[in-house]
Amino acid sequence: MRRARGHVLPAALLAGVLLGAWEAYVDLAGVQEELLPAPHAVAAALWANDSLVLHNFAVTAEEVVLGLALALAAGLALAVAIHLLPLLRRAVYPLAVGSQAVPIPVIGVLLVFWWGFGIFPKLVVIALICFFPVLVTTVDGLAAVDPEQPKLLRTLDASRWQAFRFAELPAALPAALSGARIALAVGVIGAFIAETSTPTSQPYAGLGREIITDAGGFQTARAYAATMVLFAFAVACFYALALAERRLAPWAAQPRGDTP
């Protein structure tokens, strides 16, 4: 408990200071609410529209979680394949890098044409944005095994699969999890891009769609309220993953000890 408080307190203090400065700036400089709503106005907008924001949040949260799962699965599978088949690395890497330069709206329509107005095209967009950090960190992690280790394993008559299973895979796990954390950080903005670049038939289109509508309709306070929810969600997910990392790869946290 005490440790948790020690971790939360500095962040809470800094957030409080920034919110206070923001409030003071808007009030003292007389900034119009359509331009920049004060924190109290954002809170009021959130309170007044709690049901709308909550429903849209549920949609976005589902997209982020499932999209990240898809990105992790794709990134890990591709990393393992690239590690085991160097030829594949030469073939796939340039395409994987290039894929990160494709502006999503260009292919949004195509994805909807293929898979309809449901959630799946959005998951594909998120996965496309998020698989890359997982791929790169995992490929590096798999290659970072001590070069002497394979010799030892060979004199123990380990098969290729056993060497992978006992040495390479666990060695790559911390790197893969770091990749997942980066993926998560871009995953929320990925969901925003997904929602705004693919049309939907659902009653609630997600927070990203809501933000675009509100920002265009002079509902700036509500757009900020939705943004705050995304903000908090990203922070919560990040720390949840850090917690999972400590569970899954406790040896990786040992020498550093600065993980949140």
């Binding site: 004199t155 123990l156 056993q162 006992f166």
Partner: protein, 261 residues
């Protein structure tokens, strides 16, 4: 090209493997450095290691000692000559314990790779933990162990592979002097229980005289056999025994180091 290569049949890792003899005939071996330069590591090395014997190979750094062990373990094939060696397991200088496994699971890695279930592999490792002075450390992770304890776990892993030949590549080279002395005693005791054919590579002549039945002195690269010395000293040995000191001097003079002390 060598006519005979070691049989690398896969034993089901019996707890105490039969001891067996090693024969090297005029073995030469080279490798290519990353910068493209060819290095002749060994030249015309003929050796015989009797079953159950502990042979120490001493020589200056870079005399092809590690290459010799890699050849014995079948990690490389010799360019020239022939090697007859039963299945051999390598214990490298660095322990290479897996940080995500407990000490017990690290030791149990060898039987697990040989196909034992996790539970059986653990039981077999646990049975030897006390004997090797590791009781109570089963659940410790490698980073929680001292250098000496880590080498003990690594050596237990090596023993549990069940291979008749054990190749030790400067096993105590990274330890401080006190721990090293303690580990030398420990290795002598352990090998008295767990008889194997052992090839110990070291640059420490004192260590070789303390542990080995016989000493082979290699020249600087390309490694050739300069001298073979029998160590006919009663065990347990003391490093201050006049016979041990005399033998040490003979080995050092074979290395051309007699004037340096």
């Amino acid at each position: 090209m060598p006519a005979e290569l070691q049989s690398r049949a896969r034993p089901s890792a019996p707890p105490r493997a039969p001891v067996a003899e090693i024969v090297l005939e005029r073995v030469g071996h080279g490798y290519r450095r990353r910068n493209g330069a060819d290095v002749q590591a060994l030249a015309g090395v003929s050796l015989r290691v009797a079953a159950g014997e502990l042979l120490a190979v001493v020589g200056p750094s870079g005399c092809g000692k590690s290459t010799l062990l890699e050849l014995l373990c079948g990690l490389q094939r010799p360019d020239e000559g022939s090697i007859v060696c039963p299945p051999a397991v390598l214990m490298p200088q660095r322990d290479l314990l897996l940080p995500w496994l407990s000490a017990l699971d690290n030791a149990a890695l060898a039987p697990r790779i040989a196909g034992d279930s996790r539970a059986l592999a653990r039981r077999r490792a646990a049975a030897l933990f006390a004997e090797l002075g590791l009781a109570g450390f089963e659940g410790a992770r490698p980073h929680e162990l001292s250098g000496g304890m880590r080498q003990r776990v690594a050596f237990l892993r090596t023993l549990l592979s069940g291979k008749p030949v054990v190749c030790l590549d400067e096993p105590f080279g990274a330890l401080d002097a006190l721990t090293r002395a303690e580990m030398q005693q420990w290795l002598a005791r352990t090998l008295a229980h767990e008889r194997r054919t052992v090839v110990l590579v070291t640059h420490d002549v004192e260590e070789a005289v303390l542990l080995a039945d016989r000493l082979v002195v290699l020249s600087p690269r390309p490694g050739r056999v300069l001298a073979e010395l029998d160590v006919d000293i009663e065990r347990p040995r003391s490093r201050t025994d006049p016979a041990a000191i005399a033998l040490r001097e003979r080995a050092l003079s074979a290395l051309g180091m007699d004037g340096c002390g």
